[in-house]
């Protein structure tokens, strides 16, 4: 019955949107165009090179790395330092959606290593999966992607420690029920084979996503030459930021007509040399993966891997594409000044505001990335953008209610304050640093 109501809700919603959409309004027409433009950009630029390979990796992780083997390090008698470390990086290893993070959090808290590692896991679990990090680096820029990965792990560790220190009293009293760990299945491969297999897949992604500096020298038809950074390309025009004599980027964006340009050449650098060969390198990795799969994995395992990948695809692609489309539509309707006045620049308020919104809002898997990208185009600063990404996936109002039921009001409040506080601070520092 519930399911039928859901379908009815969707149909009704689509009906109402279609009925009341003011198509004559030029703003709305433009917003529809923008929604499709953003979706096309994602489909053309990011889907095949990034999202699809990442889904195979996530599927592989779900199939070949057992959650139970990770949990062994998070039991009640495990080494403290190891427990915190494993909990902080487990997000990368597990690639789980938020609906499975919460039960595992509850398990670690009540039957396992306790509040500290559980909090670390709760923070890192949804924030740092392979897909999110590669897509962030690709869409939002390399610095933000890297900062997101490193800080998520660091924060998880520190937040876990602080939680355990503040609530040590209740920690000591916590009843010790031994955690009934499911036996980790006997691995049929030695560890180095599994490691090499995943390394191959990660490197495929590293190469296929290789950073394009977008620094070019442009030879114009009037004989002048410009060194610049390409911001945006369309069929007929090129939006660039010029480099001045000191080698610094000029802030104003200039639009060139492609008709006036003889040729554009990338400024040579190591990054660009690798970029030139990136498909060769990625292809090499692809061949290595095929070979390893063929040699080391049974038919049954491969079938399970493909099934898990398909499950991820079914879950993530509709969310991502739908999220991108809606973000494009709404983004075009929000006035730039409005966004810039709230989260532009790098003030304390901008960072704090971005953190709070991030902590409250529920981001479906990966949709935090197109949303942040759109906000940045509308004038959000880099600091607040990072703050949003750091506070965003870890928390939402619905998840706060579940956490509250498990650990109570005081601990939940503390966790939220820590996440918002650290994200704000990181945003301010990052914003000051990359400017």
């Amino acid at each position: 019955m519930n399911k039928e109501w859901k379908i009815f809700g969707w149909l009704g919603g689509i009906f109402l949107v279609a009925y009341f959409l003011p198509l004559g309004n030029p703003n709305v027409t433009n917003a529809i165009y923008e929604a499709f433009r953003l979706l096309q950009w994602y489909v053309r630029e990011h889907t095949l090179a990034c999202v699809v390979p990442a889904m195979f990796i996530a599927g592989g992780i779900a199939t070949f790395l057992s959650q139970a083997s990770v949990m062994r390090y998070l039991g009640p008698k495990s080494n403290r330092f190891l427990a915190y470390s494993v909990a902080s990086v487990s997000g990368c290893i597990l690639a789980v959606c938020s609906c499975s993070v919460l039960p595992m959090f509850a398990g670690i808290y009540t039957m396992g290593a306790g509040l500290g590692p559980a909090s670390a896991f709760l923070y890192s679990g949804p924030a740092i999966n392979v897909m999110a990090i590669f897509l962030s680096a690709r869409v939002l820029g390399f610095e933000i992607g890297l900062a997101r990965a490193v800080l998520s792990i660091g924060f998880a560790f520190v937040i876990g420690l602080i939680m355990a220190a503040v609530f040590w009293r209740s920690e000591a009293k916590r009843n010790e029920i031994a955690l009934a760990m499911p036996e980790p299945p006997k691995s049929t491969r030695s560890l180095w084979k599994t490691t090499l297999f995943f390394a191959g897949m990660i490197f495929f992604l590293v190469f296929s996503d290789w950073y394009n500096t977008n620094d070019v020298t442009i030879a114009m038809k009037d004989g002048s030459a410009i060194t610049a950074n390409i911001r945006y390309t369309t069929k007929d025009t090129l939006d660039i930021q010029e480099y001045n004599a000191q080698g610094k980027l000029v802030l104003d964006v200039r639009r060139l007509n492609k008709a006036d340009i003889i040729e554009t050449k990338p400024v040579p650098s190591f990054t660009m040399t690798v970029h030139h060969y990136k498909w060769h390198l990625a292809g090499l990795m692809g061949l290595a993966i095929l070979l390893m799969t063929w040699k080391w994995f049974s038919r049954e395992e491969i079938r399970e891997w493909m099934q898990a990948t398909w499950d991820f695809g079914k879950m993530i692609v509709p969310l991502l594409f739908g999220g991108v489309f809606i973000t494009g539509f709404i983004g075009a309707l929000i006035p730039e000044k409005y966004v810039a006045s709230l989260v532009g620049g790098n003030s304390f308020f901008a960072n704090f505001f971005a953190s709070v919104i991030g902590a409250m809002w529920y981001f479906a898997t990966l949709t935090e990335i197109p949303i942040t990208e759109t906000l940045m185009r509308l004038g959000m600063g880099k600091g607040p953008a990072l703050a949003l990404l750091l506070a965003g996936p870890a928390l939402s109002v619905p998840s706060m209610f579940v956490i509250y039921k498990i650990i109570g009001f005081k601990k939940t409040a503390m966790f939220v304050v820590l996440v918002v506080g650290f994200s704000t601070a990181a945003g301010i520092l990052f914003g000051a640093f990359v400017k």
Binding site: A68, S100, L102, D311
Partner: protein, 79 residues
């Protein structure tokens, strides 16, 4: 009568498992008391922390994985 408990907060995988259990029961002409446990505290109390979890007659048979119809048939067969 057999008692089958399905544990999960309502993610797609848990729903898939429920469907598979129903199908397996139907195809083997069995009836069972089907219980869905969606509260995380109750799940933990039963000792399950990887979703979806499957408990048959009080015994955890699988967690963290969506079993296929055939695998479930194997589990409920002849008990």
């Amino acid at each position: 009568m057999k008692k089958i408990e399905i544990l999960g907060p309502g993610c797609p995988k848990c729903n898939a498992l429920t469907e598979n259990v129903k199908k397996a029961l139907q195809e083997t002409n069995q009836t069972a008391e089907l219980v869905k446990i969606t509260d995380i505290k109750d799940m933990i109390a039963k000792g399950v922390m990887f979703t979806p979890g499957l408990i048959i007659d009080g015994k955890i048979v699988k967690q963290g994985k969506t079993l296929s119809v055939d695998q479930i048939k194997e589990l409920i067969k002849g008990k």
